[in-house]
Every structure is written in C-alpha cells, then in structure tokens.
C-alpha cells in the first residue's frame, strides 16, 4: 500500500471507519478531565466550552482548514529553494468541494475529529478564566490556520513528510497517531494562551508561592482517562491505516502499544507521586495516563511492545515533574496540565520515533528508505513546532486578544464562569464553593 494515497481496500476502509467511530470518546475523555480538574463553579462552562470548541473546530476546518491541509499527493503550492522543492501549503478547494470518493472522505472525517480533539486541549490550559466567545474565535483561527498548516507539512505530503525523499532523512518526519500534529500543536497553543491570559486570581500568593486549587471531581478525571483510552486506540488505528498505509491486519499491535504506553505512564506517575508526596496522586496519575497515550501515538505502529512500555514510563516521569516545574518555578497556571501532558508528552513521543521506530517495507512507501537520519527528521519536526507553530499561535491569539479580550472580568472570575457567562451553576442544589482560593 502506498502511504501517499489512502488505501481503498474494503478491509482498510472498514477498519478505518470502525476506528474513527471511537475518536469522539477521546474528545469526551479530555472534556471530562478538564471539567473535573476545574472548580465546581466553572464546570458547566468548561463542558460547554468543549462542546462549542468541537462544533467550531469542525466547521472551521471544513470551510477552509482542509483547503490548506489537503491530502498527500494532492495539488499544493510549491516553492523552489536551493534547487529543491518545498511543498508548504495545499491548494484544495474550500468547503470540501470535489472531495467525494470514500478514502478521501474518510480521511476528512478523521481529520475533522482530530482538529476538534486538538482544539479541546487549550481549553484545559485556559480553564476558569477564558471567555466563551473568545474561546470560539480562537478555535476558529486554530482550526482554520494553525492546525491545517502543520498537518499539511506532516500528513498532507508537505515538506516535513518528504524529508526522506528530498534530504535522505529516513522516512521523513513520522507522526503516525498525531503526537505532534494533534497534541503538541494543541499543547503549545495552550502555552501561548496561558501566557496571554495570565494566572487565575489567587493562584499565586503575594510572596510568590503557588496555591493548591484542588480539582472538584476526581471521578470525572479518572473516568475521562478510560474514555480517552478507547478514543486514542481509534485515533491511532485510523491514523496508521489512512495516513501511513498500514495493513489493517496488523492493527492489533497498535492497540497493545496504546494500552501499554498509557498504562505504564500512569503506573510511573503513581510511583513518582507516591515517593514525592507519600501517597499516589489521582489527578497527576490521570495526567500521566494521558501523557503516556500522547507520547505513544507517534510511534505505536512502528515499535515493539517493550519500547511502548519504555515510552510510557518516560512520559509518566516527565508529566508530574514538568507540571511541578511549570507551576512552581515558571508561574504557568495550567489547571488541566495541558502543556506538560500534550506539548511535552507529544515532543517526547516524536523523538521516540527517531530512537525506537522500525519501519516495515510495506508502510510509508514513497517516503524514503532506511532509518539513517530518522532522528534528525524528527528533530526538524520538533524544531518546527517550537520555532514556528508556537510564535504563530501566540501572535494570532495576541492579535485576537486586542479586539476580543480572552480574559473574563475580575467579578466574573470571582463569581465563577457558570453563573457569570451561562447564568446557572452546574450543581444548583448544593453550595458548591467558597472564596477560600480567591484573594480580594
């Protein structure tokens, strides 16, 4: 099968369709995790934000995002530099015009869910202070510009995907399940938004110490992890079949590796928090679980199970440590842990492809040969995410903030976004909060 054109075999289409049907569970899982990690006064707002983000992301992507991303092998704008071609953006029509055949439509369906999942990630980082209207506007920009641009480079036959054929760097930049395209792009957008939004009121004391603002529902968070697990399996399988030309009969390895990466990461985080705080921490362990799933996505079709366990263990170690460093030392108030889990976990997953990835001859056909230089291709992809996508998403959101402020008013933040923006609390029968975490 050729990776540049999605396989049209009945088995591949059936397998991809079944896998795509699972992807909304990943979105539901992330929405539950973000909601559970917030305070009860913002929980309906957080869930509502996730719903609006999904709708806006899918619409924006279909209207113009797909036109920039395109499909591998499709028409694209190419510039010639130093005697080499750089495929930098697709040239597909707006509103999916002309996309009628089944493999292409399946890919668009999968991609519209991927962009929705990616767009939900920043809502966790900006939770409890990000206005709903601004969230929707930022999502439109994210799914119409930022995501499709990098997705074209990595998945749409762009210059990163062709690093293997053009520069002899292994099979080019490989990201089978979206560690970079979905999670790092979403996580870096979360970082840009946290920088623009600032920290929640009361998060830091006058002497600079971070205050613990506990999650309001650990059951939501942990159940969200289980939903995310099912969704990730679908995401990784559909990505491997539709975007990398993997034989549907070998998707069992993807399921095994996805489970191993997530499970080993959660165990590692539980051990780290047990050593660090004398008891395993539920919300951090949940973050570790998702970090393992994120890190395992890029490499899961191309690594043996032992490597998937190792990838998960490192992700489970990185997640709690970076959450602590970001919060305590760098003043990054990220209630959902989106930056550590998705950006840092995703970057580790991309680098892991360069270390552990082994590519069978029948996959990624037409994208170079051998493994020499694969780690350089992965490093170029990571450098592009940090060096181009982060400034781009920061600039776009900074510009948006000038016209449509991201941050809710001080009174709205004190009242809680449920009452302030939606007019009703999520749990009206109960006294759900006090102002103990709010400094007047």
């Amino acid at each position: 099968m050729n990776a540049l054109t999605p396989s049209g075999s009945d088995l591949a289409l059936l397998c991809a369709t079944a896998a795509i049907l699972l992807i909304p569970l990943a979105i539901a899982g992330l929405a539950l995790i973000n909601t559970g990690l917030g305070r009860s006064r913002n929980s309906a707002h957080l869930m509502m934000s996730s719903l609006c983000v999904v709708g806006m992301a899918a619409a924006s992507y279909v209207i113009c995002g797909f036109a920039w991303q395109g499909l591998a092998g499709g028409s694209a704008r190419v510039i010639s530099l130093a005697g080499r071609n750089w495929n930098w953006i697709a040239k597909a029509p707006l509103f999916l015009q002309g996309v009628t055949a089944s493999p292409a439509l399946l890919t668009v369906w999968m991609q519209s869910l991927c962009v929705a999942l990616s767009a939900v990630i920043p809502t966790g980082a900006g939770a409890e202070r990000w206005r709903l209207g601004s969230t929707c506007a930022s999502t439109a920009i994210f799914s119409g510009i930022t995501y499709p641009l990098f997705a074209h480079w990595a998945w749409g036959g762009g210059w990163l995907a062709t690093l293997g054929t053009d520069y002899g760097l292994g099979r080019g930049f490989v990201d089978a399940g979206g560690s970079g395209v979905i999670h790092t792009v979403g996580g870096l957008t979360g970082l840009a938004l946290v920088w623009i939004l600032g920290s929640r009121r009361g998060k830091y004391t006058a002497d600079g110490m971070p205050t613990a603002i506990p999650a309001h529902n650990a059951v939501f968070v942990l159940f969200g992890c289980l939903l995310a697990w099912a969704g990730w399996t679908g995401l990784n399988v559909s990505g491997a079949v539709l975007l990398n030309g993997l034989d549907p009969r070998s998707t069992g390895l993807i399921g095994v590796n996805t489970t191993l990466a997530g499970g080993s990461a959660a165990l590692m985080t539980a051990i780290v928090t047990r050593v660090r705080f004398s008891r395993p921490d539920a919300s951090l362990t949940a973050n570790g679980w998702v970090a393992g799933l994120v890190a395992g996505s890029a490499a899961c079709p191309f690594v043996p199970p032992a490597a998937a366990i190792f990838i998960g263990l490192i992700a489970g170690l990185l997640a709690p440590l970076t959450i602590e460093i970001l919060e305590a030392r760098l003043s990054i108030d990220d209630p959902g842990g989106a930056i550590s889990v998705h950006a840092i976990g995703g970057i580790w997953g991309l680098l892991a492809v360069g270390i552990f990835g082994r590519f069978p001859a029948e996959v990624l056909v037409g994208r170079g040969s051998g493994f020499s230089g694969q780690w350089v291709a992965q490093l170029v992809g990571v450098a592009t995410l940090v060096g181009f996508i982060l400034p781009l998403t920061y600039g776009l959101n900074w510009l948006l903030n000038r016209f449509l402020p991201h941050r809710v008013t001080q009174d709205g933040e004190r009242q809680g976004l449920d009452l302030h923006e939606l007019g009703a609390g999520a749990y009206p029968e109960f006294v759900t909060h006090s102002d103990e975490f709010f400094q007047r």
Partner: protein
C-alpha cells in the same frame, strides 16, 4: 523581552531550515540542526522568564 524571545524562536527555526538547504553531509547537517534547537531552547528560557510574575508582585 517577549518579542525578542519570539523572534529568537523563529531564528532557531530558520537555522534548522538553513541546515537542510545548505548542508549536504549528514553530521554537519545534524549538528547545525542541533544548534538551531539550542537557539530555540534559549528563546523558550527567555519567554518563560519574561512571562513569569516577579516575586512579591504576583497576583
């Protein structure tokens, strides 16, 4: 500081692109890419520092 950090991020990325365009041999190319990543790490340090709330003046 913020603008300098963002510009330095872009500089690091251009360094990586330059390595691909200008260098053919594997090791010099890889070293140049690593140098670009190093510049990006410096830029990130600058950005984190510029966004951190100074001690004693946090919200």
């Amino acid at each position: 500081m913020k603008i300098a950090g963002l510009l330095l991020l872009l500089t690091g990325w251009f360094l990586v692109l330059s390595a691909l365009v200008l260098l053919r041999a594997a090791w010099p190319q890889a070293l140049f890419v690593l140098a670009g990543v190093g510049v990006e790490l410096l830029a990130l340090a600058l950005l984190f520092r510029s966004h951190a709330i100074p001690r004693g003046r946090r919200q």
